[in-house]
């Protein structure tokens, strides 16, 4: 899966958890917290993404990314290591 495909997958799940973001044009620099996602929303988005990727990784290992771009980079690293 390339970076853009990952991005689309993440966006899909963000919209699933926060339907209000349907019309939003996502950028790599977007911060979920600023888009209105609270901590539980963000944890759910993460869970849905990990599920879709069949990636068995503790959630705490995905803590750290400051924006969507950084999250996708980290997911890429984890996918390669899996």
């Amino acid at each position: 899966m390339n970076k853009d495909e990952l991005f689309q997958l993440v966006i899909r799940h963000v919209r699933e958890v926060i339907p209000e973001l349907e019309p939003h044009r996502f950028e790599y620099s977007d911060r979920l917290q600023e888009l209105g996602a609270n901590s539980m929303d963000r944890a759910e988005i993460l869970m849905l993404v990990l599920d879709s990727l069949s990636l068995q990784v503790p959630r705490v290992e995905l803590f750290g990314p400051k924006n969507l771009g950084e999250l996708i980079d980290l997911l890429g690293v984890k996918l390669q290591a899996a």
Binding site: G36, N38, S39, M40, R42, A43, E44, L46, M47, P58, R59, V60, L62, F63
Partner: protein, 428 residues
């Protein structure tokens, strides 16, 4: 196999409390964020209160319900806390003294953030199961306070210690409570009979939240949530590995959780229902209402009391649940840093009747509701009892407390510290 579990349990949720919505408005907290908390009130510790007074006040009604012979069989008294008053001397020593317990008793304290209550409880359970002293009882007291002390900076401006340590303090303040749960553990588990051997524990190193300095907290709420969720899943998986035919949805009539705030539990429950049984949103909502909300009854009125919170969730479930036939409760405990455990037990009608004798909710109703000004005053007044205080006299505050608040029984308060020795007084 010896039966074991909770013979009697009581929660003490403080003498004064604060409406959380009021606090949120005062701190100009984001409304959406506040609603996610699912909280009503938080207990606030007065300067004349500490984890010792909370612990004694939770235990007193339990002790008073015992005969002298039964009281004398308490051979283990463990305090579970992150609000200790000394690096060596455990609070159990003070509690032992003021409850007038038998000296042939082990006294010590355990610590692992909000897991401490479970740590103490499982220690007591194993003491009973070992039968090294048949007929003995154990008193487990999980007691904690949150004292966010307001200190005056050099220029005379007020700074809040918490803010220097965590950016999210404004979010933590509404949910940080004060309280204690006292559980008498024995071979006659009238209130909660433990499923022996049904334990899924899961722990590892993570720096999510902690108390690296006295009277101050540090950490990252987001990381803590992720760790909580990882543990929720893995502790249950281990439980499932040890116990045959377990279903998250069908094996437990109720679920209790360590509850930093209600919203977090709602999210964790939703995550588990999706993961384990692929439940749909409306099924999850119904399940949450039926199985989880009874456990939030007292947590919503007291706040996060660290190690005791999960037992406060259990007490709420026992008081509010339906026990026309015996019901199994699944309990999830989590403490930052971290350690977690999923375990279970059975509650009967008799257990509920016994538990209700302590009228936990009525006593919560008796608390004085602080105004914001009074609350700020309490924060400022707490400076005189900060950790490490060598000498202070608080008699006048103790004298006025019975006029200021009502209670149906005796309560213990801190009347002073002399050369680091803490002195308490009973007030009727």
């Amino acid at each position: 196999m010896t039966q074991v579990g909770i013979e009697a349990m009581n929660v003490f949720g403080g003498t004064v409390c604060l409406d959380v919505a009021k606090l949120a408005r005062h701190r100009r907290l984001d409304n959406a964020r506040f609603e996610n908390l699912l909280m009503k009130e938080k207990a606030v510790a007065l300067p004349i209160e500490d984890a010792v007074t909370f612990g004694v006040n939770a235990a007193k009604p339990v002790i008073d319900s015992l005969s002298q012979a039964e009281k004398d069989r308490i051979e283990l008294l463990v305090t579970c806390s992150e609000s200790g008053v000394d690096f060596g001397k455990s609070m159990s020593t003070y509690i032992h003294h003021y409850l007038g317990l038998n000296r042939n008793c082990r006294l010590f304290e355990v610590k692992q953030a909000c897991y401490a209550g479970t740590a103490g409880f499982q220690t007591a359970v194993n003491f009973i199961l070992s039968q090294t002293s048949p007929g003995a009882k154990a008193l487990v007291i999980a007691s904690d306070i949150s004292r966010f002390i307001v200190v005056t900076g050099e220029g005379g401006e007020e700074t809040e210690e918490g803010q220097q340590l965590t950016a999210d303090w404004s979010f933590a303040e509404p949910s940080a409570g004060a309280g204690a749960v006292a559980s008498l553990v024995s071979e006659t588990p009238h209130v909660f009979q433990v499923d022996v051997g049904a334990n899924g524990y899961y722990g590892y190193e993570v720096m999510d939240t902690c108390r690296p300095v006295p009277d101050g907290e540090a950490g990252d709420a987001d990381l803590s949530l992720l760790s909580y969720l990882d543990c929720c899943e893995n502790a249950f998986l281990e439980y499932q590995r040890r116990v045959s035919n377990v279903s998250y949805r069908d094996s437990f009539d109720y679920l209790t959780f360590h509850t930093p705030f209600g919203g977090m539990v709602k999210g964790a429950h939703r995550t588990m229902m999706r993961k384990t049984v692929r439940a749909k949103p409306d099924q999850i909502e119904e399940d949450f209402r039926r199985r989880v909300t009874p456990g939030m009854t007292y947590c919503q009125r007291v706040g996060n009391i660290m190690g005791g919170t999960v037992f406060m969730s259990l007490a709420g479930t026992i008081d509010r649940g339906q026990f026309d036939s015996p019901r199994r409760i699944g309990q999830f405990s989590y403490g930052s840093g971290c350690c977690s455990e999923f375990y279970s037990g059975v509650v009967t009608q008799e257990g509920q009747e016994r538990q209700r004798r302590f009228r936990i909710d009525e006593r919560l109703d008796m608390r004085h509701q602080l105004t914001i000004e009074e609350y700020e005053q309490v924060l400022r007044g707490s400076a005189v009892v900060r950790f490490g205080t060598r000498n202070v006299a608080l008699d006048d505050q103790v004298d006025s407390i019975s006029k200021a608040t009502r209670y149906d029984g005796e309560r213990l308060f801190l009347r002073g510290i002399k050369e680091f020795h803490r002195e308490y007084a009973w007030v009727s």
